[in-house]
């Protein structure tokens, strides 16, 4: 059972009251429907008709519902089991528009099915690649997820038109929305924090209407076609083209990596003592991502993927129960029967969307930083983290240059998240060259030598990318051990310290010739400590046992051997 962090009101396995679950599901569904803007952009960029747009909107809502349900299910290998809402992801947008321009929307949908199937295969092999995703690499990916949102967020937040002029009314609307969401997440007592985004969105929409940021006339068509209607999807004319295979497979890979980062973020949000990714859950999540994308293509819309904005929302509001996600899927299906809701939300004012993206980006960037600093960083890792983020930021800075690249390359290089993540994975692999998982040091039995032993673990911890907490425990145990051996003159010669690390364990063996260290588990009383020199040795033994997860005192080839085992 995962230990629920203090800031989480409803953890992943919790069952909130039905009314609360419903309201939270509505909040997630509203935020999801706001992003219907991406499939609408696809239709508009490819010159589609109004009928195409209606069909794509309905298919998108149903695809999001199916993807979200599968992702939150977490049973029999399907879905991560976390509250992770699926959206028609902007990652698929560039190749989808390209395909639609070449062969119509049918080609986009056909290629999306292929991309989804690729993600399904990829998910089955993901667990063998766990070494590619240490905590600091995951941290880079999560930071870049957040940074990727900054551009679209600020453009909408400031109401930027044509690059330079800002719209004061747009800023006012965005500020009201963001201020409400932040304030309600921080100060109120009770459970109002759960609904901070819903309240912020509603107030932002109201402010936009009041300040004229959205035109009242644009809302007139909302009720056309009636309040209730059966969802209808035209049968797509699926097509396939070899030339687009590589761009779509690369896009599927990027989407899968995005899902990996999102699910790792979910794991971290839900566990107080998060240590490393649980790749089984991640694989199941990528499988659901692939199935969702394939079904999205089959239903007639662009590919879907896990929404990082929704994960940030669940963290900010403190409600991460998977039941909320399952109910979100049902609410989404229900909205497909009420076209005005989707129409209204797809007209969500841009500054309001900008405020939500700023809110979500703040959480993701901080979460990624926490992941990065959870491990010790030596020069290799510092360069891996810093270099990868610089590469990601360069992709944002050099947009015009990158747009000139061939489409298959653009789908990777054009995504700051994708290029930074791939760079982090590659540099991590490259810098593993020359880093041994075993190391040893020999010290003289003198007190000044102890600092050398402690520096040895500091340096090795950085090279291995070990958890700082574990290295601190190792240093404390070794310090105590050496102090006892040296001050009590137990060693008759040099002391050898051997260390071996893998992602799960850190084993330290201390060898010396001389008298054994008392292996007593009993802790002496304060009076005994002052009266008896041997009592200090017994206290050292007790402390060493507390610092290490397992201690074995024995002898090997006439040398005393103390083996310390630490879980990592």
């Amino acid at each position: 059972m995962e230990q629920k962090p203090a800031n989480i009101i409803y953890g992943v396995d919790d069952i909130p009251p039905f009314r609360t679950t419903l309201l939270l599901a509505v909040q997630h569904a509203i935020l999801a429907l706001v992003f219907i803007v991406y499939p609408l952009m696809l239709v508009s960029e490819s010159g589609g008709t109004q009928r195409d747009a209606e069909g794509v909107v309905t298919a998108s809502i149903l695809a999001m519902a199916v993807g979200t349900f599968l992702q939150c299910l977490g049973r029999k290998g399907m879905g991560s089991g976390y509250l992770a809402v699926n959206l028609t992801t902007p990652i698929y947008l560039p190749v989808s528009i390209q395909a639609a321009k070449i062969g119509g929307l049918g080609l986009t949908f056909g290629m999306t099915v292929i991309a989804g199937i690729f993600s399904i295969f990829f998910s089955r092999f993901l667990k063998y690649f766990r070494h590619l995703f240490p905590a600091e690499v995951c941290g880079v990916a999560v930071v870049m997820l957040g940074i990727s949102m900054v551009g679209p967020a600020i453009t909408r937040f400031l109401g930027l038109h044509g690059g330079n002029s800002v719209d004061p009314h747009a800023i006012a609307v965005a500020f009201i929305t963001l201020a409400l969401m932040v304030a309600l997440s921080i100060w109120p007592r009770g459970k109002i924090r759960l609904y901070s985004v819903l309240i912020g969105l509603t107030a932002g929409y109201g402010a936009a209407l009041w300040l004229g940021v959205i035109d009242h006339a644009s809302l007139q068509g909302v009720m056309e076609g009636g309040f209730l209607a059966l969802p209808t999807i035209p049968i797509p004319d699926w097509k396939f083209q070899w030339a687009l295979l590589i761009p779509f497979l690369m896009t599927a890979l990027v989407s899968s990596l995005d899902t990996v980062a999102c699910i790792i973020t979910c794991q971290k949000i839900n566990q107080t003592e998060w240590v490393r990714p649980d790749m089984a859950t991640v694989s199941d999540g990528v499988l659901a991502d692939g199935v969702g994308a394939a079904m999205a293509g089959a239903m007639g819309t662009m590919g879907t993927g896990v929404s990082s904005a929704h994960i940030a929302l669940s963290s900010a509001t403190g409600a991460t129960a998977r039941r909320i996600g399952l109910l979100t899927a049902i609410v989404l299906v229900a909205t497909a029967f009420v076209p005005p809701i989707a129409k209204l939300l797809s007209r969500m004012p841009a500054p309001v969307i900008g405020a939500v993206l700023v809110y979500a980006a703040a959480f993701l960037i901080t979460s990624g930083m926490e992941l990065i600093v959870s491990r010790m960083l030596d020069t290799r890792r510092i360069f891996m983290v810093g270099g990868s983020i610089i590469v990601g930021l360069s992709a944002i800075q050099l947009t015009e240059l990158i747009q000139r690249l061939p489409p298959w390359l653009y789908s990777i290089v054009g995504s700051p998240f994708a290029i930074a993540s791939l760079c982090a994975i590659a540099l991590n692999l490259l810098f593993r060259i020359g880093t041994s998982q075993s190391a040893s040091i020999r010290i003289e039995p003198q007190l000044p030598s102890m600092s050398g032993a402690l520096r040895f673990f500091e340096s090795q911890g950085g090279a291995w990318g070990a958890r700082r907490q574990v290295i601190q425990r190792v240093q404390a145990a070794v310090n105590e051990l050496l102090e006892a051996v040296i001050l009590s003159d137990l060693a008759e010669g040099p002391i050898d310290i051997q260390a071996r690390f893998d992602e799960y364990h850190l084993d330290v063996v201390v060898l010396y010739s001389g008298l054994p260290l008392p292996a007593s588990e009993e802790c002496p009383s304060p009076e005994q400590l002052l009266a008896d020199e041997n009592a200090v040795l017994r206290l050292s033994g007790s402390l060493i046992r507390q610092y290490a997860d397992r201690v074995v005192f024995d002898a090997q080839k006439q040398r005393q051997r103390i083996s310390l085992h630490f879980e990592h």
Partner: protein
Amino acid sequence: MSLIMKIENKMPGCYVVKFIGRLDGTTYADCDEKMNSLLIPTTKDIMFDMTNLDYISSMGLRIVIKTRQFIEGNGGRVHMIKMQPQIEKVFKIANLLNGIILYASVKEADDYFGAMQKKVLDSLR
């Protein structure tokens, strides 16, 4: 890997000893020497400010025990300000927290000294 000790005489017979760094076998001797200069009959209260102490070994604990035995034998008290979790854990294992007055912050300790000073001044009037 060093220890910085700052000793402040708050009022006659009352000292605040601030530790910064590590109190272990390598820093024990120097610390012990400085503490010995405080362990005189006129010393009634010693307050250890543990806020910035990162590590304490069994040898470091001996200094605290020795100080406590002397001060309590002299009719005084040993106080401690804000221990980091890893230090508190060591004190718990060694069963040394009983009888020590703990303060959550420097301000809380200052308030204690302020009240004590007032009491002394009132008794002199």
